[in-house]
Symmetry: C2
Subunit: 600 residues, 2 copies
């Protein structure tokens, strides 16, 4: 595999095999038949398909967004063609057992494959991603008939799927959903309600769409404890899976988005005619826990998808800055001298290095988090437990920090291209627009921050955070033994101490009953723990690079020196930002909290 617009291959190899050593997963019985070669083959196949079948229509689907014709959604044909190739190559079943026709790959390798598609075309990949999410949920919680009728056709690429959570009046607040499911004598339910922001909610790509809908059974508990999960097929099917008639689900409208225009986003009405058939998944009132089981992996996907947009624009702006010659250095007064490449300008180089730090740092976190999913199935119980804890803690960080900073990276890519960057003739403004949804959906980043500080950092008496700080301490000890990195190791160790102390201060305030004030600066806590985690992963990368320098060839030497320089840049310009963040959180700085609505 060579480098391409989608990927810096040397960097990916470094991530997977030097930093994360994902080939060690072949020691698990489930992956015993795999090897670095088979991992690479899957990634290469995804890469080729992404370049040939997803990338070419990325701009076209931005220009020609889905629209309704006679109540049906029309998409450009390239989306369906790309998805057929995706299905035929087996990417709907990348994680599935060999026996089920799957590739039986580790989660982390599946995530890398997904990255190829989401880099190439984040809109088109939304259709199979949602379908796969629905299939996974049914795999975990559906009964045998539900798996046969609704899961299997998704894995086979015949059906698609959705997740129907939000309602117009309750975007992030699932406690307030109003969709109702009335039990029927035959064990099925009749649903009525409206769902908003449903991606892939209606289209003609497959034979059917399996909506997974959150709704309330009358008489159940109030709030989130009374939410159940239902299968609501677009077409009802008989016991043999043959389509019988359209279910009472109506496409009530399309949302017109800033970006990701190729993925149709819908407003759906269920049961307007009183005949919307739904089928309970699992137990009543357990719907949210089922959904969150998937949501956590979705959040890793959102973070990694965001990072891919960051990476695409970074690589594009890097190439542009190498090729475009313009201007001179501030001390070059001779107008007869040749203009220098943009990359030679200090501020352009700063913008490139900043992108590299954010994007490669977040990518390391994303792949590491994905690896934790796999390590959560380790034969060793301690490894399993620790992986679960770390995964819980890091999931809101990859989702929120990954999407926030990859978006900031997109900003810089546009800036490097200047006026060209502002035009739709160049791809970077679309990267920004496509990426802008990621801090919003699957739980806004504000909600992620509350989850991180109020729940994940505190859970089990801070066990997950202690584990992270222990891992950071191990890296500091290791990197600290290298003279070139000892100062950075000391800086990181001090940051870890600060994070621990700050968390304790919040915990004390919460214990004293000042919950709202204690959590008011959760966003700054996300900066604190996010920057600390990314700095940790950069120091791990730097230690590997430092050791590999001796004996490296010229190309590898340049690559490793770049890693070391990016680490130094992050520690000099980014990591110090945690000091202010920690102070605001630790002291519960109250100015926003105490501001009153009427003072604005």
């Amino acid at each position: 595999m060579s480098s391409s617009p989608l990927i810096d291959r040397r960097h990916l190899d470094f991530m997977l095999y030097e930093l994360l050593r994902v080939d060690s997963l072949t020691g698990y019985a489930r992956y015993a038949e795999h090897s670095r070669e088979t991992f690479d083959a899957a990634i290469e196949l995804a890469h080729q398909l992404a370049v040939s079948k997803f990338l070419p229509h990325n701009r076209k689907s931005d220009l020609h967004e889905p629209h309704m014709v006679d109540g049906k959604v029309e998409l450009i044909p390239e989306i369906g063609e790309g998805l057929r190739a995706f299905n035929e190559a087996g990417f709907m079943a990348v994680l599935a057992d060999y026996d089920d026709g799957g590739m039986q790959l580790p989660f982390v390798i599946g995530a890398v494959c997904d990255c190829m598609f989401s880099a190439a075309n984040p809109s088109t990949v939304a259709y199979p991603a949602l379908a796969r999410g629905a299939a996974n949920l049914l795999e975990a919680y559906g009964d045998e008939q539900q798996k046969r009728l609704y899961m299997k056709p998704i894995v086979d690429g015949r059906y698609y799927g959705t997740m129907c959570l939000s309602e117009p009046q309750a975007g992030s607040s699932l406690a307030d959903i109003k969709t109702v499911a009335e039990p029927q004598a035959d064990g099925s339910y009749r649903l009525s309600g409206a769902k908003m922001w449903i991606s892939a909610g209606d289209h003609e790509l497959g034979e059917n769409i399996v909506h997974l809908v959150l709704a309330k059974i009358p008489g159940g508990p109030a709030g989130v404890r009374g939410i159940s999960l239902f299968i609501v097929p677009r077409w009802r099917v008989d016991d043999d899976g043959v389509r019988t008639q359209r279910n009472d689900v109506r496409l009530a409208g399309l949302n017109h988005k800033m970006g990701q225009r190729g993925s149709v986003n819908t407003f759906l009405k269920f049961g307007e005619a009183g005949d919307c058939h739904g089928y309970l998944v699992g137990e009543p009132h357990q719907g949210l826990s089922y959904m969150f089981h998937m949501m956590n992996e979705e959040r890793i996907g959102v973070g990694l998808g965001a990072v891919q947009q960051g990476s695409m624009a970074y690589l594009y702006s890097l190439q542009y800055a190498r090729e475009r010659h313009q201007g001179r250095h501030p001390d070059q007064k001779d107008p007869g001298s040749a203009p220098v490449a943009l990359i030679e300008h200090a501020d352009v180089r700063r913008m490139l290095l900043q992108q590299k730090c954010w994007v490669e740092g977040a990518q390391a976190l994303g792949f590491y988090t994905a690896l934790l999913v796999d390590q959560g199935r380790d034969p060793d119980e301690t490894v399993r437990n620790e992986s679960h804890l770390l995964l819980d803690l890091l999931t809101p960080i990859i989702k929120a920090w990954g999407s926030d900073y990859s978006l900031k990276a997109n900003e810089l890519a546009i800036q490097i291209l200047g006026g060209y960057g502002y035009t739709r003739e160049y791809p970077v403004e679309q990267c920004y627009r496509d990426n802008r949804i990621n801090p919003i959906h699957e739980g806004t980043n504000g909600i992620q921050a509350l989850d991180l500080l109020g729940r994940k950092a505190m859970m089990h008496n801070g066990a997950a955070l202690k584990l992270l700080l222990r891992e950071i301490g191990l890296t500091c000890a290791d990197a600290g033994s290298l003279p070139e990195l000892s100062a950075l190791a000391a800086q990181l160790q001090a940051g870890a101490k600060l994070a621990g102390e700050t968390t304790l201060a919040v915990g004390r305030r919460m214990a004293a009953g000042e919950v709202r004030l204690a959590l008011a600066n959760a966003g700054h806590y996300m900066t604190l723990l996010g920057h600390l985690t990314i700095a940790w992963l950069w120091l791990r990368q730097a230690a590997i690079a430092q050791r590999a320098l001796a004996g490296a060839n010229a190309a590898d030497t340049a690559f490793y020196l770049g890693k070391l320089q990016a680490c130094r840049f992050f520690f000099a310009t980014e990591l110090p930002q945690i000091e202010l963040a920690a102070r605001l959180v630790g002291e519960a700085e109250p100015s926003a909290y105490e501001m009153r609505a009427e003072w604005f």
Copy 2:
């Protein structure tokens, strides 16, 4: 005048009459016939026209961008209708003498009027803004015939104008432009070359378009010292101003932008047929100094225009956060309790307060800078000189800081609206897209930072910076006498000291010949001086608010408390960021500077 989507009227009054006391300009002979009432009447007229004639087609012109039909540019008709109303109301001549049919208003009041239009519709306002810029330039440097033939029809609203600087190979680097002007026997010139990014470069809004074109006369000095300025009319005219024939200027293409889609952006070719007539303005080789004379005021306009997009989205998200009820506080477990307004959530309030700080802070700076233009014509020579110095120093800050932070504010407005903010059914994503050009055009913000650190802060042995620090010191002494603000005053004074020391450190490094390294962190210096300046203006606002609290009515009390709270928020969360910025600049942190192209 009441509040509207365009403006918080109470805030504007505070800016103009409590903070800046612009009514004192009526003490100048030129404005003796004006009063607060006439200022307000002009602003109100602009406001009414902006709401009735500019705002209604802001979204339509985003959806229906200009396109070429048979070589002509087609715009939606509302643009022409809006501009007719603008011209008829006299806003092309808002600053002009009474004798010339103008309103003879101060620059700062003209800027406030412009803000109404640019808030309502930043694309449509581009046409008159560019035309007025061209007219002002001809007023200053054109000869009598040029004024009669090309300036007067612009002021009368019959002609439009452009500024043709950039070329495809030389966006920001004017030293490298290649357009050539060959002198002819009759004193005119024949131009040939290509100009890129020309806003309002072709359209049918008026009878003619006056292109002001930078070009090189063969045999002149190399680089920027060999640039001359030419009038190149789209239609040639005879001595009576009657159109004779089309000049050899061809619309070669349109750029399709991320935002500001209503203002046509063109690629123009001059002299393809060898018959492009141009007329020298002023002296040969002085073109860039003429253009920069206008450019400085344009940069204030860009900064203020950016701030208006920040303000529009802020006000919209504020209203949305007041009206939309969703979710509960983290310690509210009862799902039966009513959802709270978004504004009650700590993180939403933080995002609103952050927008308020950035937007109102930058607006204060923009209006203050505009006032300095007026004070540059003060009868007192010392006032004039000091105003010029401060204006020179603050212009890159309002341009760069204003556009950077108003764009960050737009980010937050989108986030507050959540999924709705991501759709084109709501206005905030367009604010972001329209605003995204402002850090790029009229000199990228990277160039502004180099201008600020390498030139403005250093000029006349640091005279301008000393003046700013003196003004900050006066405010600190004043606010420090108020017990409620003394800690903030001390914090600001320490920041001013830090800025002074940091600048000296850069000066020493430059004097030692390390110019490139010394300027490599210019972007961080922009943060340092920008945050310091905005903090200064916030402390001035806070001191006024603190004193006005006694005896204020309920509405004013809430308003002043909001100002005080915003000041505290800025000093707690934003101002401390200058410490890291100062360290990076002062120590010439080298990691980006030393990064090599081949290491990426």
